[in-house]
């Protein structure tokens, strides 16, 4: 099976303090340990490969389940602070064991299956929502040497498994045999199908620039420096900025986060497709949602924020995977910030925003990326690139936003006062 390209070769970090080097290699530790044990025990090569893959998978799953627990706590605490509250602080120091308590609660709750539900599909849906998220997490490059599965078509693989999420949300909503889940899955499908388009199209510019669909190659391309200092992240180019913003908005929509949390819009349709789930199945949904959030944020980081690369030259001694997770935290915090501030859009507005704003803009980034690539590298070429692409992107942006906003301008309202 040639789906698996060669594992990224282990390169030796030079001129870095020993502690950082050790840290850099830390995620490799279980893998190397198993490899060493296998070597000692003289196991056949295919078994060693299989074991290595299993351990890689176990590391990713373990890391992201921990992240899930931590982020669910961080989310609650951050939102609480935004809202001038303390947030969970009763279980353990600073409420650190709150996720554990939640987990125990979820596990011990009664599993309720509605009478009218399709029993089998009702069971499959929560499992099906976790699988694509875990699969997608498997292809992201977390560090220079930490790529669990290095696929040549990593980006395409990511979107392909992401397509499964829609179907599982639909199954969850439909199999519950109830009305709010049905409405929720209707909303989820139309939202996710629509927002997949800007997601894909804005990633196109990155593929054009890199000339590859391999995620490690994309990061490698961004980890060089302009003028020796400034990092070459895609977000620092005009097409990348627009594409990145569009991609980020589409990410929020794909992850069903506020302001696009219509499928589970609490104030309207209770909990959408999860209404009829309880106990561990509900926890699985929750987990799938968070893992999906990590995956899509990780992809955003990989495509536009330089993946594991350091922002400026001279900071490379920090382990690359620390950069990745630092960026992940920043992206998720931004999403939380947005969640704490904005309200939910309505279905027709959601669609209009996607079709009239995001898709045109993301389509524009493709020719813009072409122009940028055509202009080439170097100071003057960069200047030329900026000069051409910025108006190319800004003018349509202004036109579109003005059209979209023309009926909403607050200045149109006047209020009178009677004595």
């Amino acid at each position: 099976m040639n789906l698996l390209a060669d594992q990224a070769g282990v390169t030796q970090a030079v001129d870095a303090p020993a502690i950082w080097t050790t840290l850099e290699a830390l995620p490799q530790l279980p893998n190397r340990l198993v490899g060493w044990i296998g070597f000692q025990m003289n196991i056949p090569e295919w078994l060693a490969t299989l074991l290595g893959l299993l351990v890689s998978a176990a590391v990713v799953v373990g890391v992201f389940l921990t992240c899930f627990a931590l982020v669910s706590l961080v989310e609650r605490k951050t939102l609480a602070r935004i809202q001038n509250r303390y947030g969970p602080n009763r279980v353990g120091p600073f409420g650190l064991f709150q996720p554990v308590a939640d987990g125990i609660k979820m596990l011990t709750k009664e599993d309720i299956v509605p009478y009218k539900a399709e029993k089998l599909l009702h069971l499959i849906a929560p499992i099906m929502i976790v699988i694509p998220a875990v699969l997608a997490l498997g292809v992201l490059p977390y560090g220079k040497e930490w790529v669990p599965v290095n696929l040549e078509l990593g980006l395409l693989f990511f979107f392909a498994v992401g397509a499964m999420t829609e179907l599982s949300v639909f199954i969850a909503g439909w199999a519950s045999g109830s009305k709010f889940p049905m409405l929720g899955s209707l909303r989820a499908i139309s939202q996710m199908v629509s927002y997949e388009l800007p997601l894909l199209i804005s990633a196109m510019g990155v593929i054009m620039m890199t000339g590859s669909m391999s995620l490690p190659a994309i990061v490698e391309h961004q980890s060089q420096y302009n003028f020796g200092v400034l990092s070459n992240w895609n977000i620092f180019t005009p097409w990348g900025l627009v594409g990145g913003i569009v991609f980020f908005i589409a990410c929020i929509a794909e992850a069903n986060r506020c302001p696009f949390d219509l499928p589970e819009g609490e104030s309207e349709i209770v909990a959408g497709h999860m209404t009829e789930y309880s106990g561990f199945k509900y926890a699985l949904f929750f987990m799938g949602e968070y893992l999906g959030l990590f995956a899509i944020s990780g992809l955003f980081i990989t495509l536009f924020l330089g993946g594991w690369s350091a922002p400026i030259a001279g900071l490379e001694f920090v382990p690359t995977w620390l950069w990745f997770f630092g960026k992940l935290v920043c992206v998720i915090m931004t999403m939380l910030w947005i969640r704490g501030t904005w309200m939910r859009v309505r279905m027709d507005q959601l669609m209009r925003f996607c079709w009239l704003f995001l898709i045109p803009l993301s389509l524009l980034t493709i020719p813009a990326a072409g122009i940028w690539k055509f202009c080439g590298e170097g100071f003057l070429a960069g200047l030329l690139g900026w000069g051409v692409t910025v108006p190319f992107l800004i003018v349509p942006y202004i036109i579109i936003t003005v059209i979209l906003n023309r009926r909403l301008a607050p200045a149109t309202r006047q209020y009178h006062f009677a004595e």
Binding site: M1, N2, L3, L121, E152, L153, L156, F157, F159, A160, V161, G162, A163, M164, E166, L167, F170, I171, W174, M182, S185, L186, I189, S190, M192, V193, E196, G211, M213, M347, D348, M351, R352, W355, R407
Partner: protein, 167 residues
């Protein structure tokens, strides 16, 4: 070969489910299953790119569109109707069984010899594919592009028709 002989019956079974199930949504889900198994088939045959495209287009778009339409129209189950209409079943069988026979007959004649058929050389080179697409097949690409644009505009207009409200 082993993988193929496991996968192919599964594909056929899933396709059978898709055409036989009485509840429309079940049928659509079986279609999705069958098409994603076909994607796995492509992966096994070495066409990674096509397999992933197949998965994202058929599972991510076509199957989802179909279930979406089913949700909107909410058709009743076809259990009774299929049972009640033996004549249509008969017609279906009468038409499709000869087609199957003819096809299998044709295939059995056109199959190359064993050695040739078992050989294994092909691999999709993405860059190669891209180059061919935009040189040799450029007119076709343009035609498809125009068609996709038309479809997209049409779909957007359709969505507008559904969602736009009079203000």
């Amino acid at each position: 070969m082993i993988a193929l002989s496991i996968l192919i019956p599964l594909i056929v079974l899933a396709a059978l489910g898709a055409i036989w199930k009485a509840r429309p949504v079940h049928s659509a889900l079986f279609l999705a299953l069958s098409l994603s198994l076909v994607a796995v088939l492509y992966l096994i045959l070495g066409a990674d790119f096509l397999g992933l495209i197949q998965f994202s287009v058929y599972v991510g778009a076509v199957a989802v569109l179909i279930v979406f339409s089913l949700l909107i129209t909410r058709p009743s189950d076809e259990t009774k109707e299929i049972a009640r209409r033996p004549q249509s079943m008969l017609a279906g069988l009468l038409c499709s069984v000869p087609v199957l026979a003819v096809l299998v007959y044709a295939v059995s004649f056109s199959t190359p010899t064993e050695e040739v058929a078992a050989a294994d050389t092909a691999k999709i080179e993405l860059a190669e594919l891209g180059k061919t697409l935009f040189t040799t097949h450029a007119p076709a690409v343009m035609a498809v592009a125009v068609m996709l644009t038309a479809v997209m505009i049409g779909a957007a207009l359709f969505a507008r028709d559904i969602n736009e409200r009079e203000s």
